[in-house]
Every structure is written in C-alpha cells, then in structure tokens.
C-alpha cells in the first residue's frame, strides 16, 4: 500500500472508533456525523486539523459527562489527536507508528502494574467473582471442565445478585464454579499478567531490537484471548488498528490485525445469540 492508502485506511478505522465512542455519549453523534460526512471527501481524510478538532471536540463532554467515559474512550481520543498531529509532520507514518507503539506499550504496562499491585487480582479473587457472576460460561465450563453443575453455578450467581440488588437481601453469598474452573481462574491470572507485561516490554523496546517480532503475536494473542469473551469493541477496534500501524511492514501481521477487527465486530454482534451456550450444546449436547 502507498502512504496515502495507509493513511486513508487509518482515517476510516479511526472514524469507526469515534462512532463507537459516541455510543457512550449519544449527544456526541452531533460531532461524529459531520466527521463521517467529511470523510466522504478523500482528501479531507488526511486533513490534520479535522482530526485535531475531532479530538478536542470531545473534551467538554469528557469533563461534564465524565461518568460515561471509560478507558477506551480516552485512548480513542489520544489516538485521534495523535493522528492529527502526525498528519502535520514530514513523516506522518513514522510519527503515527511512534504514537501507536507508545500507546499500546503504556496502556499494557499501566494495566499490568495495576494487576500486579492488587492482591485481589493476584490471588484470583477478582476473576473467581467475575466468573461466579457471569453465567454465560456456566453451560460451557460446567460441562467441559466439569466438577460443578450448571444449576449450582446459577444459584451462586443469583445469591450474589440478591445481595447486591435486593433492598433486603443478605449481606453475604457463596458460590460454586467447580475446582477445575478455579484452576482456569489461576491460569487466567498468570496469563493476563504475563501477556500484559510482555506486550509492554516488546512495544516499548526500541524497534531495532529483535523483540519487535513478538509484537504482533503477543497483541493478537491478547486480543483473541479477551475480546471474544469480553467484547469491549472500543479496545477491540483500536488495539488491532494500532498494531497494524506498528507492523505495517509485516503484511501478514497487518492482515491478521485487520481481520481481527472485523471478527471482533461480528463477535460483538453475535453476543446476542449466546455463542457460549451454542458451543456447549455442540460439544456435549
């Protein structure tokens, strides 16, 4: 792809991310819709001031409506600003790669520090509680991992829900996700810390280091290990796009990233038909 084509693809991808962020604060469609219209004019897609403006226009709402702006919304705005600033440079693609590399590396590094520093994450308490409450995986894990029946799992989830949402509910609850699922939890903790630390290291390390070859495998493994289960499309679109920018000289990696973006959108849409239960039925009947 030529430089111009690459920048056009990034512009369209960033626009898609902006649309998704606007879903968190629908008033912002007032700003995003004109952006989509502007992008119908190809030369506007690489207009630096358009993107800088599209980053700044979010700031008032991020302050006044702060409750609705999550981490991926902020990252999307930093990226949009980065795109605008890169387009003002003599070497826009090199600057964009710099932004992508540092943003991925820092986000993963900061996230890893949080998890390592928090005992409730390290000892698996958080993931145990999350799985105990999330009955989407009860059919699959209870049948495949075994050691617990689905009814027992759901009773635990209901007990936690009653504690949290019934006015006169109890102030304690117990759960049962089975010993093998608890082992899965331990694996999830170790995997999460290792992969986030790994990504921080390889993305923040200089490009000339051999570790740069690990960027695509680690980021793709992270994305595919998380977003099919927790379809946070804000990150599921943004991180692969940043990865594709960083690894634009590796065509296979870039294609894998782009295909992943499409796949995560489809998985997010498929969430409504409870694919976890469908797989459980397929495997065990």
């Amino acid at each position: 792809m030529t430089l111009s084509e690459r920048l056009q693809v990034v512009a369209v991808g960033t626009c898609a991310v902006q649309v998704f962020v606007a879903l968190h604060d629908k008033v912002m469609f007032v700003a995003v819709v004109p952006l989509i219209a502007a992008l119908a004019v190809p030369r506007l897609r690489t207009n630096s001031w358009l993107w800088i403006l599209m980053a700044l226009v979010w700031v008032p709402r991020m302050i006044t409506n702060w409750i609705h702006y999550e981490d991926h919304c902020y990252l999307a705005i930093y990226w949009t600003l980065g795109l605008g600033l890169a387009l003002r440079d003599e070497n826009p693609w090199e600057v964009l790669q710099h932004h992508a590399r540092w943003m991925v590396g820092l986000v993963m590094g900061i996230a890893a520090v949080w998890k390592i520093a928090v005992p409730a994450f390290r000892d698996g308490s958080l993931f145990s509680l999350v799985l105990a409450r999330d009955t989407r995986f009860a059919p699959l894990l209870s049948r495949v991992a075994g050691g617990v029946d689905e009814t027992s799992w759901r009773e635990g989830a209901s007990a936690i829900t009653a504690m949290m949402y019934k006015p006169d509910g109890p102030l304690s609850a117990t759960w049962n996700i089975g010993p093998r699922t608890e082992l899965v939890v331990d694996g999830m903790v170790a995997w999460t810390i290792l992969i986030e630390v790994g990504m921080a290291v390889v993305f923040l390390a200089p490009n000339r280091w051999r570790t740069s070859a690990l960027r695509a495998p680690l980021l793709l493994a992270f994305c595919w290990g998380l977003y099919p289960i927790v379809p946070i499309l804000g990150f599921g679109l943004l991180l692969p796009m940043m990865g594709a920018v960083v690894d634009s000289e590796r065509p296979l990696a870039a294609k894998a990233y782009m295909a992943s973006m499409v796949a995560f959108v489809l998985i997010g849409l498929a969430e409504s038909w409870h694919w976890q239960e469908a797989i459980a039925d397929l495997l065990v009947g």
Partner: protein, 143 residues
Amino acid sequence: MESLRRWLPIVLLLLVAGWHVVMLVVWDHSSWGAGAGFGMYSKIDAHPFRFTRTTLTLDGREIRISLPEEVRHEELEWRVLPTEARGRMFADALLELNWNDEGKPSADGRPAERVRVELFALDVDRQAHRVDAVSKRVVEVDR
C-alpha cells in the same frame, strides 16, 4: 514543534492516568471505567462491584427501597466516587422525590422525612467461595 507532535498524546495519556491514580488514592475513585487509569479488571473494590442500600423514613416508618430510575445517575456517581459530598447529592436527589406507601416514587405521594444511603463494597474469600458486603460509607439527610 516536532517534539510536540510526537509526544503530546503520550504525555496526556500519562498525565490523565496519573491523575486517575491520585483520585483513587485520595477519594477512593473506582479503578474501572469513568476515567483513564487503565485499571480495569484489577480491583474488586470498584464501581461494578459496589452497591447501595437506601432507607426512607415515611410518616415515622422506615422503609428500605429499591433504587428508583430517577436517581440512577447520582447513585452511579457515588459508586464511582464514594465521597461524602457525592453521597449527599444522591441522598438529596432522593429527598426531592415523592413516595407512595410502598416506597415507590409517585407524583401523588409525599416526600421522605429522612433518607439514609449506605455504600457497600465486596470482600471476597476465594478459599471459602464466599463474598461479604462491607459498608464503606453511610450518609443520612433530613428534610
């Protein structure tokens, strides 16, 4: 200018994430969402796992109520930022409403004499597969 183009978004990311940590340390701000600290899926004591319980005093009688839609925003803000001030905003929003005898908002009802809101966090004992609710803050306001 070249440095600005290369580093401004990165510096902003670090500054805002750092501010989120300050808010967490000083005001017990949730590590998840409603911010840019990238602490999602790290702490249990964060707003997805905090909850509130509300007690109204109506005609001298105490009633524990379900969270009405009208104050969901104030309640969410308190779970994210569990300060005394946010608790009072939540309680004041409840005082603004009129209530029927069943403790449901009703335009034909009457206001509460007192509102008591309590914020809970979860304490997990993974070995025992048990979770307990721990009170973090109580706010009471009178009409």
